[in-house]
Symmetry: C2
Subunit: 176 residues, 2 copies
């Protein structure tokens, strides 16, 4: 392949790997997505092994994770029994997938913990301290709930079009 292009691709893939790591995913996962994303043709597992320099096992598990998140799609090539993969290019959709898959579960757990702690305060001996706890925990619970509802509402927006409307709204309501 063209040297210019492969250098650029390497740089890009490296960047994806870094981003992936930053968001708490394995480095290889980002790299693999990057490779698939930059390929005009569906890629097989072996081609990925070659392009990302990672063993088959790692590619296998990472690509499966990518699929679960809706970041890549399996593409069955008739006549071949290999699995091929193509990239999901709708990043908005991807964001939704990740949010749903990952934040939700752990986020709910967090919210529950706070609620549970609040419930434990019910029949406490020290009413003053209990009141203080209630206030604090309640405030945090409220914040999480707000955050949750905002995020989930934003996630309902269908496309980036509505996002620009959102931005306009935000700018217009910004009084600072």
């Amino acid at each position: 392949m063209d040297n210019q292009l492969s250098t650029a691709r390497g740089h890009f893939i490296q960047g994806m790997s870094r981003i992936s790591n930053f968001w708490g995913f394995p480095r290889a996962m980002g790299a693999i997505y990057g490779a698939i994303y930059l390929s005009p043709e569906p890629l097989s597992l072996d081609e990925l092994v070659e392009q990302v320099s990672v063993t088959k096992g790692a590619v296998s598990t990472n690509v499966r994770q990518l699929e679960r998140l809706g970041m890549v799609h399996k593409h069955i090539q008739l006549g071949s029994r290999k699995d091929f993969y193509i990239a999901e290019t709708d990043f908005w959709k991807i964001a939704k997938g990740i949010l749903r898959e990952r934040e939700q579960s752990e986020f709910d757990a967090a919210l529950n913990t706070v609620s549970e702690s609040l419930d434990m305060l019910d029949e406490a001996d020290d009413p003053e301290l209990a009141g203080f706890y209630k206030e604090r925990m309640g405030a945090m619970q409220g914040f999480f709930q707000t955050l949750d509802s905002v995020v989930s509402t934003i996630m309902k927006l269908e496309n980036l079009m509505s996002l620009s409307a959102l931005q306009k709204f935000i700018s217009s309501s910004d009084k600072s």
Copy 2:
């Protein structure tokens, strides 16, 4: 202390520790914030050591990190040379702090990597593939830029009041 209350507090702190871990911060950091957040009085380093069962060194570094993020504030008690800490209770402000401190830097790096990769495509031999790369990388760059501007605009909103307005707007523009 009241047994009810200390159980509830333990549960809460444990939850904070978990959340902290989820967001990519040390577990102890969340626990420490939780302890400070639930204390009516400013807490000293030694008190924190006792309450979260972590060594002084760890508390020292973690509490400093918390301060950098604007999650706690040093409170100098006249007459004592200990450092006391109180919790920042404006979660909106905290979110801003974290976003600014952390996402921004790493996020910018990510954006730069994509831009750099794009620049490398300029004089490539294979115009067809180069075109494809440009298209893909450009799309990703666009997404990141949009995301960046949305987040940064949202972060300009001063308080949770405007958030509820935001929610109303979102619900009203949701056609799905």
